[in-house]
């Protein structure tokens, strides 16, 4: 059995289930004559996606999905990168200054349990209603906490034997950090990255509800929904999902690449 047929075979159930789900959706909507505003058929969503991709053909003036998707994608990716960078840097600081870390980490866990997206209107007040940074900041904060918490855990949950071994070599704290803590934290960090990647898109869209430029996925969904053009609203959702999925797959790929000797669960 070659690697390729093995891969096809392992992906087959997912493809079959996907086709069955889409088929059932299309079929049930047709069979029971569900109105389009309740649940558009996958085929009409696909048509709307095609029509709205490059530019809207009508007078509503909504932005082309390509442009909206690109704008939201940029917000999500930049916010994600900033949040990940801040999370990793602060995790390293928290581990270097143990006392500070011990005080701050439970606080971070507590904040992570709160609906951070609710900060969106506050950021609008801070950075301006139409500023892209208001939305980026929401993504940044939403991404920051899982990355920070996981990375701190990875840097500190080191096997005591390994630390003792390093101490027996009279290794400095910096060496221990480089040789033991950071390699130990890598899988934890990559897990948080996999969680944070799709989250960044959703956070960006939620933030867009509170304000920001109109040429984004969030406003496009709202406008289309308010004009009862649900197939177009769903098409925008598909675009958003595709961005989230792309980032997720990228995160999984990074994980596979960085940890080739470990099996990755779920994909």
């Amino acid at each position: 059995m070659t690697a390729i047929t093995g891969r096809v075979r392992s992906a087959a159930p997912a493809i079959v289930v996907g086709i069955v789900l889409l088929g059932a959706w299309e079929g049930l909507v047709r069979l029971f004559g569900v109105q389009e505003f309740l649940l558009p058929r996958p085929s009409s969503i696909a048509t709307a996606l095609g029509e709205q991709w490059a530019g809207s053909a009508d007078t509503l003036g909504t932005v082309p999905l390509r442009e909206a998707g690109l704008n939201t994608g940029i917000i999500a990716v930049t916010g994600l990168l900033l949040g990940v960078a801040l999370g990793v840097v602060l995790a390293l600081v928290a581990v270097r200054f143990t006392r500070l870390g011990e005080a701050f980490t439970p606080f971070a866990v507590a904040v992570n349990a709160t609906p951070i997206v609710a900060l969106a209107p506050i950021f609008n007040a801070w950075f301006g209603l139409t500023s892209a940074f208001s939305n980026q900041a929401v993504v940044l904060v939403v991404v920051f906490f899982p990355v920070f918490i996981n990375t701190v855990r990875g840097l500190t949950d080191v096997h005591p034997d390994q630390l003792e071994l390093m101490r027996s070599y009279a290794a400095s704290e910096t060496t221990i950090l480089r040789r033991v803590r950071i390699p130990n934290a890598l899988p934890f960090f990559l897990t948080s990255l996999r969680l944070a990647a799709p989250l960044s898109v959703i956070a960006a869209i939620v933030a867009e509800y509170f304000g920001g430029p109109q040429s984004r996925i969030g406003p496009v969904i709202t406008q289309n929904a308010s004009f009862a053009r649900y197939d177009a609203a769903w098409a925008a959702i598909v675009v958003a999902s595709a961005i989230g999925l792309g980032l997720f797959i990228l995160a999984v790929a990074i994980e596979r690449f960085a940890l080739p000797h470990r099996p990755t669960e779920g994909e």
Binding site: T114, P115, V206, A225, A240
Partner: protein
């Protein structure tokens, strides 16, 4: 003792952050005009950054001129409203998640076929569809708040399904063999072995799901325009920001506290359910 010192540490960090806030304001206002120098990322005037004590004071002031109800009581009422939506969403999500986990345990084909789709489901911003979900709910028997609960459920089923499946698969092969040697049925094995063993995986998922249900309820309220809950309150206060910025901050703090409250509840449930179990004598 450890819990006390932990609470003290959290309080200390909170106070330190408040000090940073006030210090930032102080510096900004001492070196620049009204809102501080323009190169500061956030203006330091009292409208953009109200004083921490003003935010605290807002809690005990009337929610509106002419109304006797204080903001704290008003927020508590709104939080209760949101909590009920979140609780229903959590319950639906937990049941659906556990059901999916059982289905995937039962069928190896569906296990491999569904897992990727369950992952993909979380990249779909259903939150953005809240208005559609509400419209959809109106044509059926669902009230608007129940529709919001459905959005919360969409967020909560995911961790329960993923962790639940891992937990149901966690018993070691010898235990599964033991059940088989008793000629136990599939359901008996689930009830007597797999579900109890899955608790160690399920409760962390429940904790995450609990906070996600609050996020879902708040965002669902906001985008669906459902009145009565914290989400709508945040939206309203954001709209009237210029006349009372402290109120928005107070509402956001209330949302945070509600998130912490459900997290604490889930934690409590975990402690009770895991009672008697080995506290890993490490």
């Amino acid at each position: 003792m450890r819990r006390l010192s932990r609470l003290l540490a959290i309080a200390a960090v909170g106070l330190a952050l408040a000090a940073v806030w006030e210090g930032y304001k102080l510096i900004g206002q001492s070196i620049g005009p009204e809102g501080g120098p323009s190169w500061l990322p956030v203006a330091t005037d009292d409208l953009t950054m109200p004083h921490t004590w003003d935010i605290l004071a807002a809690f005990v002031e009337p929610v509106q001129r002419g109304r006797s109800e204080t903001l704290a009581v008003f927020l508590l009422r709104s939080a209760w409203f949101t909590l009920r939506e979140a609780a229903l969403g959590f319950a639906i999500g937990a049941i659906v998640g556990l059901g999916l986990a059982l289905i995937m345990l039962r069928s190896r084909f569906l296990d491999r076929g569904l897992v990727p789709w369950i992952n993909i489901s979380q990249t779909v911003p259903l939150i953005a569809l809240a208005p559609i979900v509400v419209t959809w709910g109106r044509t059926t028997f669902l009230s608007d708040t129940q529709a919001v609960s459905l959005i919360a459920a969409y967020l909560t089923f995911f961790p329960v399904a993923v962790n639940g499946l891992a937990g149901l698969k966690s018993p070691d092969p010898a235990s599964v063999e033991l059940m088989r040697s008793y000629a136990a049925s599939w359901w008996q094995t689930v009830i007597k072995l797999r579900l109890p063993a899955a608790r160690a995986y399920l409760f962390p998922a429940f904790k995450l799901a609990a906070t996600l249900s609050v996020v879902g309820a708040i965002v669902g309220e906001i985008s669906a325009g459902v009145r009565g809950g914290l989400g709508r309150v945040i939206l309203d206060f954001a709209g009237r920001y210029t006349t009372g910025p402290e109120k928005l901050y107070a509402a956001v703090v209330a949302a945070g506290l509600l998130g912490l409250f459900v997290f604490w509840l889930a934690n409590l449930a975990e402690r009770r359910a895991m009672r008697g179990r080995a506290v890993e004598l490490s």
